[in-house]
């Protein structure tokens, strides 16, 4: 499926009374390795499909089809509102990363990765074992052409790794689950993942629920990125501006002065880095929050006007079946130079949470955040006792304005796009036992 084929389709549609049209095609191949309680499955997926958004004054339709570009004998009638497509916009030059060409991981190497994790957790935590592992390593190419003259191509490469392990002791069994993503499977570090699972399982088994009011916590990147992901209504689309206004205090700040948040669709080394977004609009870095003051949300090409903010290439399309949707690509809370030990030392009494038992939830009506966490009660910088079965709660304002310290070790986790955060010290939150 070449760009020229997509352009020809768009031109043909114009002749058939559908002057506004965008054709998108994607081809990909991936290898998925699955290990469940000793049984091994290998899958080789070759995906190919294309999608069309087309219409005119009388409305539009969306058509997605698997396989090569073979249009149907007739198109559906356009309906609803007219379609709008981005014009040709020129962005900064884009240099594709060199590692997109790397071959997919082989069967042997992939299962060896899983076995390394299993050995690590079994050795470090007798009674623990891996029960499921799924590794998917894939590469894809997408192309786009629209009636406004936009023509674009991009390539991507992603490896995703899911691990589930159990730990049994004294008649009790707990489950731990981790999910991670890298550009290539070869970048996955099995021993580090094994250590994470060991900490997860042992804390989950040995921990006790704890309650605390108005407490101080250090949140590891895994926890903080889940919170940032739950706050997506604050980061995406023009409607986020009203929400930000509601949350901004009299001093003009949404968050504490050390809070700087940005999104960058072409972040160097980023898993989802690309020169253009899902509609062919050039990507770039957009500052969302600066020194705790809300700058703007991510705004697609037709939403950046007046004092709303600047538009950017910020729509993502996970696959050819999907319509483009505003979403972060690499949402980053900027780190500082402060080391984690010094952050821990400053914590006289409080908690350190390093994992989540489920993702954070934002109650849209009360604007309160809640997240079930795993970690330790801390005293004078030392771990006192493990904690599980507790929810960290507070208003959005309490979370964002209570940030007193930000460390330097930036780590990314997959969510809607990739989300990166360093460890963060926050005061004034509550710990509840559900």
């Amino acid at each position: 499926m070449k760009s020229a084929d997509l352009q020809r389709l768009v031109t043909d549609l114009g002749k058939k009374g559908l002057p506004v049209a965008e054709a998108y095609g994607k081809e990909g191949r991936s290898r998925r390795l699955k290990w469940v309680s000793g049984n091994k499955e290998v899958q080789m997926l070759e995906e190919m499909g294309w999608a069309l958004r087309a219409g005119g004054e009388n409305g539009a339709f969306f058509w997605a089809q698997a396989g090569p570009l073979e249009p149907p004998s007739s198109w559906p009638s356009p309906q609803g509102l007219p379609l709008e497509l981005p014009p040709l916009l020129v962005g900064q030059p884009w240099v594709e990363p060199g590692d997109l060409q790397a071959p997919l991981i082989g069967e042997g190497d992939g299962f060896a990765l899983m076995e390394s994790v299993n050995r690590k957790i079994s050795a470090d935590l007798p009674g623990a074992r891996l029960v499921k592992a799924v590794l998917e390593d894939g590469a894809s190419e997408s192309r786009l052409a629209n009636s406004e003259g936009v023509v674009g191509e991009s390539r991507s490469r992603t490896a995703a790794f899911l691990l589930e392990a159990v730990y049994s002791r004294e008649g009790k069994t707990v489950l731990g689950r981790l999910y991670t993503a890298e550009r290539e499977a070869r970048n996955i570090r099995p021993l580090a993942l094994g250590s994470r699972l060991v900490d997860f399982l042992s804390t989950r088994l040995e921990g006790r629920p704890q309650k605390a009011d108005n407490t101080t916590v250090i949140l590891a990147p895994r926890v903080m990125t889940s919170l940032l992901a739950a706050l997506e209504p604050l980061w995406c689309g023009p409607q986020a501006i009203n929400l930000a206004r509601r949350l901004t205090e009299a001093d003009g700040r949404l968050a504490s002065p050390n809070f700087h948040l940005s999104d960058n669709g072409r972040r160097p080394g980023g898993i989802f880095s690309a020169g253009i977004d899902g509609e062919g609009v050039p990507t770039r870095e957009i500052r969302l929050v600066q020194e705790g003051r809300y700058c703007q949300p991510l705004l697609p090409w037709n939403q950046g006007r007046g004092n709303r903010g600047q538009s950017s290439g910020c729509t993502r399309r996970p696959g050819w079946r999907d319509r483009p949707r505003v979403s972060p690509s690499h949402l980053v809370l900027e780190p500082t130079q402060e080391r984690v030990p010094s952050l821990l030392k400053s914590l006289k009494q409080g908690f350190y949470f390093f994992e989540v038992e489920a993702e954070a939830v934002l109650d849209a009506s009360t604007l309160r955040l809640s997240i079930p966490v795993l970690g330790f009660e801390m005293e004078n910088g030392n771990a006192k006792s493990p904690v599980r079965g507790s929810r960290l709660e507070g208003s959005v304002c309490q979370f964002l304005r209570g940030i007193e310290g930000i460390a330097r070790d930036l780590t990314f986790y997959p969510g809607q796009g990739m989300i990166g955060s360093p460890p963060v010290l926050i005061s004034g939150l509550n710990l509840r036992v559900p």
Binding site: Q43, M48, G59, W63, P72, P76, G80
Partner: protein, 436 residues
């Protein structure tokens, strides 16, 4: 059917050429999928179509399986997929020249186009008005399994999915037809949701409950059907070890019968081509036959295949129920309510969840009603039912004397979303933990 042009003999011959030993198996799966979605007009575009044709091949050898899948049905792609799973170059040719499958026939989308108007009228009958967004989808799926020895009957499923979103929550249902009756039932659900939107949640504690047919269907789907899938059972040991174990109240008879589903979605064979059966998951509260696919029945004399399902060609088959039946009891509605006097009644469910490792189970209700004087009384707000599967199934006191088709919905397991259907009576439970 799109598979009338498929050259089964050539496909089977190509598959058989890969087989090296008797204990190996190799099969192919072809599918055609068609989905039309109608969205609110403000969504651009508000009409979406998706058409897919593709296949997968699977080889199982010495405890491992290899699968290759593609989005184009041609001889060249098929041969390439066979070589991918074989991983060596067989001496004989794997060519399947001229391989193709057809399209699903064109369909009249008028029921789907008219449904929003039917629903709006049905809501007005209740003399209320509220904002909502409605998504209507038409789903069609045709599939054909072929092995080196067998060509099973092609299968076709067609259904609608409805999703509504209101400022106070959301809901949905699956239906095989979009009739006035369906519109009336959906309107009733939405109006109740609107009327009870400010109801206070009940106090946490132990209560007696009556679950209406919809809620009972979700309860059984999570607590019984998922718990008795062979891969879920395997998490705690051999799946066969569950056979003969008492799991619940002796009046509990739970069956998965894909052939007894509504005609438009009834299944003669599963997604591997294995014949489906009237499978007694629980007979008088005792586990009789877990849900299994051929991956779990190989090497087992006790498990039976026929419950293998997959959401599409790019994912493996896993055990899942299709059409769950709870055989009715002897109680009428008045009996069920009087047994739960002072308790709570629920019929709508937001979600259900089972932790296979601990057996812990949760069901979330958006609203319900109190039971006072043997009748449904004031509304109550959101709350959750919590417990373990074993405890909850022992707490069933009575079943309604009539079953109702209800509780059809999407089941997501391992990121595979599939429609599931049910036919259940209402039931009463004692001493269930309700959390506000």
């Amino acid at each position: 059917m799109p598979f009338s042009v498929l050259d089964f003999a050539t496909v089977s011959r190509a598959l058989s050429r890969l087989k090296e030993r008797e204990d190996e198996s190799i099969d192919a799966y072809f599918e055609v999928v068609d989905e039309v979605e109608q969205l609110p007009e403000e969504d651009r575009p508000s009409r979406r179509h998706r058409v897919e044709r593709g296949f997968s091949v699977r080889l199982r050898r010495e405890g491992r399986s290899w699968m290759a899948s593609a989005d184009e049905v041609t001889g060249q792609r098929f041969e390439h997929a066979l070589r991918q799973v074989a991983r060596v170059h067989p001496r004989s040719s794997l060519a399947v020249p001229g391989l193709r499958i057809g399209d699903l026939p064109e369909e009249n989308l008028e029921p789907m186009e008219k449904f929003p108007t039917l629903l709006a009228r049905a809501i007005r009958v209740h003399h209320v008005a509220f904002p909502y967004e409605l998504r209507v989808r038409r789903h069609r799926r045709a599939l054909q399994a072929v092995s080196e020895q067998l060509k099973s009957p092609a299968q076709m499923e067609a259904w609608y999915s409805l999703e509504w979103q209101m400022p106070w929550g959301c809901g949905g249902t699956l239906e095989v037809d979009l009739t006035r009756e369906v519109a009336a039932n959906v309107a009733k659900s939405m109006v109740a949701f609107f009327n009870h939107r400010e109801a206070a949640s009940p106090q946490s504690g132990s209560r007696r409950l009556v679950l209406g047919p919809k809620a009972a269907a979700v309860f059984l789907h999570e607590a019984v059907a998922h718990a008795l899938e062979a891969d879920v059972l395997a998490a705690g040991g051999r799946p066969e070890a569950a056979i003969g174990l008492p799991l619940g109240w002796e009046g509990l008879n739970v069956i998965d019968d894909p052939q007894n589903a509504p005609q438009a979605v009834a299944r003669e064979v599963d997604d591997e081509g294995s014949p489906t059966r009237r499978r007694w998951l629980l007979r008088k509260g005792v586990v009789e036959q877990p849900l299994a696919d051929t991956g779990w029945t190989r090497g087992s004399t006790l498990l039976e295949a026929g419950a293998g399902r997959r959401s599409d060609r790019h994912v493996p088959v896993i055990p899942r129920c299709h059409h769950l039946e709870l055989l009715p009891g002897e109680a009428d509605e008045a009996d069920l309510l009087s047994l739960a006097e002072g308790g709570l009644w629920f019929n709508e469910v937001s979600w259900g969840r089972l932790d296979p490792w601990t057996g812990k189970f949760q069901l979330s209700f958006p609203w319900g009603r109190k039971i006072e004087g043997g009748r449904l009384a004031g509304a109550i707000g959101p709350c959750r039912l919590r417990g373990t599967v074993a405890e909850l199934l022992e707490k069933i006191l009575a079943l309604e004397s009539e079953s109702h088709p209800s509780g059809a919905g999407w089941c997501a397991k391992e990121a595979q979303r599939l429609p599931v259907w049910a036919n259940t009576p209402s039931l009463t439970l004692r001493d269930v933990e309700i959390q506000s």
